[in-house]
């Protein structure tokens, strides 16, 4: 049996400085290191275009990071178990689309239908992965395709359905209070608190880590692993649906590729945040910063006057450098 961290404990060619000083401190407080990186990025924007970083800009950044952060919450859960969910983008899109096309049934009903899709797909993923032991990557790739296909069929029946995004969802997705506090923060913050606290302080959080670390050990300790996995995937579907609602609130209308651009970033945010792709290690605090870093990076590239290919290359290279710095720090 190979331990999850395959190179753990092997010879390191790239040792770092001695025990004292700032580096070891950061190494013990990786979240702090991530925050410093984020600040460096923001500073970079301010240097590139002085006067950009204003309260309004910051509040916009938070506004845009929220859907990514909420998607990242579900992705964090499943990645901690050693899995991944590639259906989150389809689910978010689908829930947004269902919300908009069912608005005539009343806002609450429409929201419930949207969230219901998330729970449904999450449940399907959960059954496949937890009970039938399908590889998460393929299972969710498949259910993502299915969801998208179903939504396309559905959309053709719904061309004249008078789609509408309820007022409060619009406010949630784009509104601000006190001038600069984005309303979606009022959804994201409780989720963040629940995630961070739940992962650290509840039995379910413990088991999420444990299952990702060593499934067999969990079974031997009397844990019915499938239950844990099932709930994690259902939660992930639910968070994806929630993110879809926030997204559709910010665009006022849904199309069927609404959340596509969030798929890879939702994975990247979790990874940048220091959660192991192999499971068992990491947490949501990192994902939050990861989502913020990606959002700020996107802004930076928008403001940078460079051809698109160069921007793409920069986007890749910067994330890579970030991850490398982070890996050095925590190695």
């Amino acid at each position: 049996m190979s331990l999850p961290a395959k190179t753990g404990g092997q010879r390191s060619r790239f040792g770092l400085g001695g025990p004292g000083g700032i580096l070891p401190f950061l190494r013990r407080n990786t979240i702090l290191a991530l925050i410093l990186l984020l600040i460096a990025f923001v500073a970079g924007i301010e240097v590139a275009r002085p006067g950009t970083v204003t309260p309004i800009w910051i509040s916009n950044a938070l506004l845009f990071a929220a859907p990514l952060g909420i998607l990242g919450a579900g992705q964090t859960l499943v990645m901690l178990t050693g899995g991944i969910d590639l259906s989150v983008a389809s689910v978010a899109t689908g829930s947004a689309y269902l919300l908009a096309t069912n608005a005539s049934l009343g806002s609450v009903a429409a929201v419930l239908i949207g969230l219901g899709l998330g729970l449904g797909v999450g449940l399907l993923n959960g059954v496949g992965i937890a009970v039938l032991r399908v590889q998460p990557l393929v299972m969710t790739l498949g259910t993502g395709l299915m969801t998208e296909g179903v939504m396309v069929v559905y959309s053709q029946k719904m061309l004249a359905s008078e789609p509408r995004v309820p007022e409060f969802i619009q406010a949630l997705g784009a509104g601000k209070v006190l001038g600069a506090v984005p309303l979606d923060l009022f959804l994201w913050a409780p989720i963040a608190i629940a995630m961070i606290w739940g992962l650290r302080r509840t039995g379910f959080g413990r088991l999420t880590y444990a299952v990702g670390d060593n499934r067999q050990a969990c079974e031997l300790a009397g844990v019915r692993v499938w239950q844990v996995l099932l709930v994690d995937y259902v939660l992930c579907g639910f968070f994806a649906a929630l993110a879809g609602l926030v997204l559709v609130g910010s665009t006022n209308a849904a199309d069927l590729s609404l959340a596509d651009v969030y798929l890879l970033p939702s994975v990247a945010a979790v990874i940048i945040g220091g959660t192991s792709i192999l499971g068992g290690r990491g947490g949501y605090a990192g994902t939050i910063i990861g989502a913020l870093i990606l959002t700020v990076l996107t802004s930076l590239l928008t403001l940078l006057d460079a051809p698109e290919p160069i921007k793409q290359i920069l986007y890749g290279a910067i994330i890579l450098l970030l991850a490398a710095a982070y890996a050095r720090l925590t190695d």
Partner: protein, 320 residues
């Protein structure tokens, strides 16, 4: 009688895109309306030229009489199109062109699309000011054509400055974030040209509490609604038409050719500009706008004189 009815194949390589779905609906509606189509076989998936070649070959095998294809490339499909033609299959490329001489081409003129919209904007700004160009996906032919049109228009207005050019990826949220970032950066912006990600850009001004500037968009229902409803708040803009019903029109052409009626091999649909600056134009917009429709439904739903279906038929989106 069923004997002289035709089987029609459709090939499309972008799914989940509202415009393309509407295009397919218009093909189905036209098939229904024509009364001489027995079956519409659709090959619809995400992919590039390689996938589309496979789909076209499969449609040929499936024994269709005509193929309506929204081509993913101008050159790559030519050999298959030739193969189809030798089997007597009529191929009509819609939306984008192919260079195969056997094919009929019925397209929206994408260069003109970029040019007329940009020209409207530059005129509206009286030939002077800072504009933002919000493009689609880099590397996609339609995007390149529209950019070419935009650039051609720009040549005539030396005092117009493009202060930013972004790729929205035709994704709503990406476009919205880009606009908000640009607004926050303190850049002076006098007008915006978009490649179809329009309504979220207008919304961005509202959220940022900045006063509206002229925006050029597409004939999306939602954007047209903004042109009508925000006029009172000082918003001016123009929708450039890009009818997805080229699909239905293509089918009509194909059926004509199958029945030995002559058609030119190249039919270009010239885009129109619908702005909200005069009362007359506003009235026209109100005529086509339908609050009940999907905001991303293109409301230019027929291509005269080719399409003959009714509004309920295309909304039903059901073939024979």
């Amino acid at each position: 009688s069923a004997a002289d009815k035709y089987v029609v194949g459709v090939s499309n390589t972008l799914i989940g895109n509202g415009w393309r779905e509407e295009m397919i609906c218009s093909i189905k509606a036209q098939a229904e309306a024509s009364g001489i189509v027995s079956k519409v076989v659709v090959a619809n998936r995400n992919g590039g030229p390689a996938e589309q070649i496979a789909d076209l070959r499969n449609l040929i095998s499936a024994g269709v009489n005509a193929i309506i294809v929204n081509p993913s490339d101008r050159e790559a499909l030519n050999p298959v199109i030739k193969q189809a033609a030798t089997k007597g299959i009529v191929v009509v490329a819609v939306d984008q062109a192919v260079s195969a001489p056997e094919a009929y081409v019925l397209t929206n003129d994408q260069v003109a699309y970029g040019k007329v919209g940009a020209t409207w904007l530059f005129e509206h700004l009286k030939g002077k000011g800072n504009v933002v160009e919000m493009r689609g996906i880099d590397g996609v032919p339609a995007d390149a054509d529209r950019h070419q049109g935009f650039t051609e228009a720009l040549k005539n207005y030396p005092d117009i400055k493009v202060v930013a050019s972004t790729f929205t990826g035709w994704a709503l949220n990406k476009g919205a974030q880009q606009m908000k970032d640009l607004l926050a950066s303190g850049k002076e912006i006098d007008g915006v040209w978009t490649s179809g990600i329009d309504s979220v850009v207008v919304d961005a001004f509202k959220t940022a509490q900045k006063s509206y500037v002229p925006v050029v968009g597409a004939d999306n229902n939602g954007f047209v609604g903004q042109l009508i409803n925000l006029k009172g708040d000082g918003f001016s803009g123009a929708a450039v038409t890009n009818p997805p019903s080229v699909g239905g029109a293509g089918l009509a052409v194909a059926l004509d050719v199958l029945q030995k009626k002559d058609h030119p091999h190249l039919i270009k649909i010239t885009p129109e500009v619908w702005d909200n600056t005069t009362d007359a134009n506003l009235e026209n917009l109100k005529k086509v706008y339908d609050a009940k429709l999907d905001p991303f439904y293109s409301i230019d739903f027929e291509v005269k004189p080719y399409t003959t279906y009714t509004m309920p038929q295309i909304l039903a989106c059901k073939g024979p």
